[in-house]
Symmetry: none
Subunit: 197 residues, 4 copies
Amino acid sequence: MTSSKPSPGGARPMRADARRNRERILAAAEAVFAEKGPSASTEEVAARAGVAIGTVFKHFPTKQELLQAIMKDLLGRLDRDMAALAADDAPGEALFTFVARMVEQAAQKRTVVGLLAETGIDLQVASSVQMLHEGIATLLVRSQEAGTVREGVRPDEVIALLTGICQGALHAGWDRDLQRRTLAIVFDGLRASADRR
Amino acid sequence: MTSSKPSPGGARPMRADARRNRERILAAAEAVFAEKGPSASTEEVAARAGVAIGTVFKHFPTKQELLQAIMKDLLGRLDRDMAALAADDAPGEALFTFVARMVEQAAQKRTVVGLLAETGIDLQVASSVQMLHEGIATLLVRSQEAGTVREGVRPDEVIALLTGICQGALHAGWDRDLQRRTLAIVFDGLRASADRR
Amino acid sequence: MTSSKPSPGGARPMRADARRNRERILAAAEAVFAEKGPSASTEEVAARAGVAIGTVFKHFPTKQELLQAIMKDLLGRLDRDMAALAADDAPGEALFTFVARMVEQAAQKRTVVGLLAETGIDLQVASSVQMLHEGIATLLVRSQEAGTVREGVRPDEVIALLTGICQGALHAGWDRDLQRRTLAIVFDGLRASADRR
Amino acid sequence: MTSSKPSPGGARPMRADARRNRERILAAAEAVFAEKGPSASTEEVAARAGVAIGTVFKHFPTKQELLQAIMKDLLGRLDRDMAALAADDAPGEALFTFVARMVEQAAQKRTVVGLLAETGIDLQVASSVQMLHEGIATLLVRSQEAGTVREGVRPDEVIALLTGICQGALHAGWDRDLQRRTLAIVFDGLRASADRR
DNA sequence: CATGAATGAGTCTTCATTCAT
DNA sequence: GATGAATGAAGACTCATTCAT
């Protein structure tokens, strides 16, 4: 659930308890922001993590930076997910599987989704987004080679659809059935087809 | 840009200056919240509208109510859009036109989009959302009768896609071209096709 | 319920509808402040009186003045009460009757009571208070002449006891029985008695 | 002037500086509310205490809670007063001494008095009021045993008289002499007497 | 390093009062 | 005279951030 980003940049290696705290905070923050959106208070994050507020600010000098760290963490996990899928799943289905899985988890990931929409993409996480982009690109190419996605579709379209549908998934009245039907439409749109407009 | 909802319910007609102010506030609020999201301050709305803070609260006793009023206003305009399209456009294309138009305006409408995701749909605007639902349903049926949308697609899927894509349209790095390509995929998914999964 | 203070000082006689409004406002104010204490809003008074807020301020340019007017009104009525009692009741009992009656009504008169404690006695109502003082003095003297109140008791002590007990009567947990028993003690204290300390 | 209620309930002991501030705030609040009544601003309390506004709200998350804390504090001190009197004073006089002392201090205690009348007794302070009740009951019984208060008088009557007279003591024009004379009447009422009504 | 108390700018909201209609 | 919309100062409360312990 938590990243293992040990010591950043050229700093000295973090003390063990410090690293543990960092990860507890990150996990708590993800949970809290997931539940209450990014306007939840830092104090609540500290409480959930079982540390004092000062400790949170020691690790993440700004709320912004905490939010960015969550994003990075999340995107990193997505990247590993994708890599695993690329290795294990049928090449033609991996992209679909990945998208479906992300949408499914969207409700618990209000954070990523919300963050993207709320604060925009800061430069700090640009590299992580880049990672996502590349992962998607890989899955996409394989799908196209396998003939399950039509030629001409590009990664940014897939990302656009992905984030959009995830946003949608946060809404009230969005149940499993609606999710399945909506994805079906999008997947149909992605599939190779003779009668493209 | 602003509605003309004059005097609600069974009250006497609003004084001219009051109605003018109400609309200036609504317009200002829409603009401000569009730029900065729903957490922008009411004070800024007042400033942009050129009125004192008290005036905003006289018209909308709560920030929530102001946000809801924007929603209602916006949804009302959408409804009129849809009605016009249903009357004027080719039956098979009206739905596509409507969706495309909404997405196109999404950037200016960060509010609606954001609101739906942020605060959820309160009962106050439920009727307006209902309106949207019905409008979409009408357009959808016509498209299906015209054969441009496959049978089996239901209004809630269309709404889900619509809100999702609108959300997506708010992101940085989303340009006209990406918009066009993304919509093309979704529209392909909606079109009648022989090789339905 | 309302006073008939027609036109103040040397001003021209008030128009009939104006005087009617003045009294409706006074009555409404008394009711509202009685219910919610003197911090109730002037707007609510206007609403209860069925007039616009501007009208209230036309008659009473300041909330303070409105409160003072209520006081005067109330004290005037008390004065008439006392005069009637002085004329009708048994001389030895009139004072007791009056005090008991006031305490009984205290709950509905949170205003007077509250006002005295809250804002202190402004000079504006001093003359009215003087009236009360005189009325009490009259009743007191008669009681003493009738032998039901010991010599040496002075009007200001009676007023002090009166206001104090009225305050007490506003408290939660103060019922008719407690009221009776408390008054009995005070009345015993007032009665002539051989064994004064 | 201030209590020493250190750390409430089962929490860890408060840091020294925090407790010091808590007490400065409590003392400041008591003074401010005593002067201006319970509608005085929290900001002024903060200023008088020499802390920032946030600190006040950190210790007392609500103005209500601050007021209640003052009440508790005050009632606690009264309770200790009573206990001391019960131990030291002549049994027959302790009650009279206590009441007289309270009334004497009433001006500085506008808070207690005002609070009881203004906001009513919330459950939070109910236990403290209960304490007061019990203390009074003790003093009362001893007085009755000593024969200085007639049988049949009950604690709630004494409390009613006490609060009432305290209220009265807040008024303008209430001087030491009036106080003495008024109390004399009430004490006479409480004393055992042959000619009970 | 961790703690958590203190800070204070910023937010929402209320209300007495003014004044154009 | 009456109306009620507008004003804006003031109040309660929040929260990111700092810093003494």
